[in-house]
Amino acid sequence: MGGLVQQQDFDAQAPWLSALRNAGLQAFEKQGFPTARTEAWKYTKPRALNVDDYVLSVAGGKTEKEEIPFDCYSFYFNNGVFDGNVPELPDGVEVMSLAQAAQTDFAQDYLGQAADVADKPFAALNQYYLSSGVCVHILPFVQLDKPLLFINHTLAGETNLLMNLRNLIVVENGAQAELVEYFHYTGTVKSRYLTNIVNEVFLAPDSVLKHYKVQAEAFKAGHIALTAVNAEKNAFYKSLTLQTGADIARNETHVKLLSEQAGAEVDAAYQMNGWATIDTTTDIEHLAPCTHSEQLVKGVVGGEAKGVFQGKIHIAPHAVKTEGRQLHKALLLSDKAEVDAKPELEIFADDVKCSHGAASGELDEEQLFYMQSRGIGRETAKQILIDAYLEELIAKVEDENIRKWIKLKIKTDNL
């Protein structure tokens, strides 16, 4: 372990919280950092992820408001530290900082209950730190009128920073909400940084969470995220993640469909160049009959970059009449670009519909020539085709303003 884990003072904390943190530490110590031999990191070679090389970010910084082109309730994080400002919210929505929530029974009931850390070293570390974050509680039957926006701004500095963000979202019976996460940076990155996020989402019966995420970290950054979702009867989790930054990134979504009619739609897009590795890992567990899930992941990979998709669908023995579908597609823009897709179906029940597919291809020269022959520059033509390629996914975002915003975040340079 060396000096990586700064000593934490547990004395002032509730025993359950100390226990949770210690469990995180133990889980981490048992696993250690992933190596190239670790099965879960076989395709995404773990490099520059040793947190010994980083300093835990605790200071945050001054919040600079962002121009966001859709109406929302904004929560600002600076260098991974929540600034503590909770905007005015409608009735039926309760939000606290993680530090405040840690004093409550509410947090005790949920924290650490969805995220399994036994085989996830970064989530284990995150559980040890429980550094900073936001806890959201949407009360029964509340339809939140505007999305919640969690926006993490990294101000590039001189030291290698490790950021641990930990959020908790509880959506009660019949309630509905939208969450948008946005990770970005400004400044010239002289050092590296590593963002390590764990979101735990609890969806009570008949509730819905729509979760959009844009990962636009600096190139010299690592981004490791786990969103763990527990979905009860007839609850629905829908997500779309766009990743365009970080030279090593894993966005992992782990959904447990715990009860009948629970469903999930987990979509992702990524676009990367340079020597980056962008990883989308999903684990959808169908643990009850008549549950359903759908995944569409599309990547655009240029330079010497690599796209990785590890998609697991697990169907428990009694989870009959379930449906699980998964499709990964990638567009390779150069000879050195690479994709690895590893679908994994664990089907223990009869009478289920389950499918997976993968396809990769290149930009169509005939289409490029057609556009060029009409005066459109080759680079613009490529971008038009890339946008069209990702459009299928972006079109799934129902809110027009969020959709437009995500579209703008698709990178247009260096392709």
Binding site: M371, Q372, R374, G375, I384, A388
Partner: protein
């Protein structure tokens, strides 16, 4: 005094070491309409692709000048912006790209090249509507993804629409009549004729004489085995229709 627009001299070109164009000569002056007629496999599409800079073709000898400039050194998009337009035999389908968005990119790329202000959406829509109307293209059609699911006739009408809004100095029509019924053919021909103003030039490439009843050429050339084997006026097209290409193909 006639001003030359396109000057092709002793052009040799091919694909994968196979020579397809074998010493091709042709000069088109401003305002002239030339027809090139030839049997299948003569190298007609190869010629139009080489003129437009499609990748995969190798020019081994000869030169092509357009408005006095070396055309072969330009990228396909530069050729288009300079005023060379290829109305394709098989227009390409591009799923996910709305026809209007594509047209707007195209028009503004060409305008920008000529130091003209880019059209805003309103101006653009107005222009496309007006030109589209003449070709029987409605607003619904151009909202669809580019050429996707278009019938043969719709594709050719869209090619013609692009020609009418880009107003190229030289339009190359590669088998513009293939797959068209007579009504669609008339519509396309009308669009093409609308561009004839004594300034703009056309190179009409076709296997059949049919199109030339509607787009009447100033000159007709017979193209066989990679070169022009006979030139004449519009009467030559009728002669070919009657006798076929046998005479020329045998010559080789």
């Amino acid at each position: 005094m006639a001003t030359p627009l396109l000057e092709i001299e002793n052009l040799h070109a091919g694909v994968c070491d196979k020579e397809i164009i074998k010493g091709f000569n042709l000069t088109i002056n401003e305002g002239e309409v030339h027809a090139i007629m030839g049997p299948n496999g003569a190298g007609k599409s190869t010629l139009s692709n080489v003129l437009c800079g499609k990748a995969g073709y190798e020019v081994t000898a000869g030169s092509v000048r357009f408005k006095g400039k070396d055309l072969l050194r330009m990228s396909p998009e530069e050729r288009a912006r300079e005023g060379v337009f290829l109305c394709m035999q098989y227009p390409v389908e591009i799923p996910g790209v709305p026809t209007t968005a594509f047209l707007k990119h195209s028009v503004n790329a060409v305008r920008k090249h000529h130091n003209l202000l880019e059209l805003d959406t309103m101006e653009f829509i107005k222009m496309v509507r007006e030109e589209g109307k003449k070709l029987g293209i409605d607003g619904e059609m151009i909202k669809r993804p580019l050429n996707v699911g278009f019938s043969g006739g719709e594709k050719k009408r869209l090619e013609t629409l692009q020609m009418s809004i880009l107003k190229p100095a030289l339009s190359i029509l590669d088998e513009a009549d293939s797959g068209l019924d007579i009504d669609a053919l008339k519509v396309v021909a009308e669009g093409v004729n609308g561009l004839r103003d004594g300034q703009r030039s056309m190179l009409v490439i076709t296997h059949y004489q049919r199109l030339l009843n509607y787009v009447v050429p100033d000159f007709v050339h017979v193209y066989a085995d990679g070169r022009i084997v006979k030139s004449g006026t519009k009467e030559l097209a009728l002669e070919l229709e009657e006798k076929g290409y046998a005479e020329f193909v045998r010559e080789k």
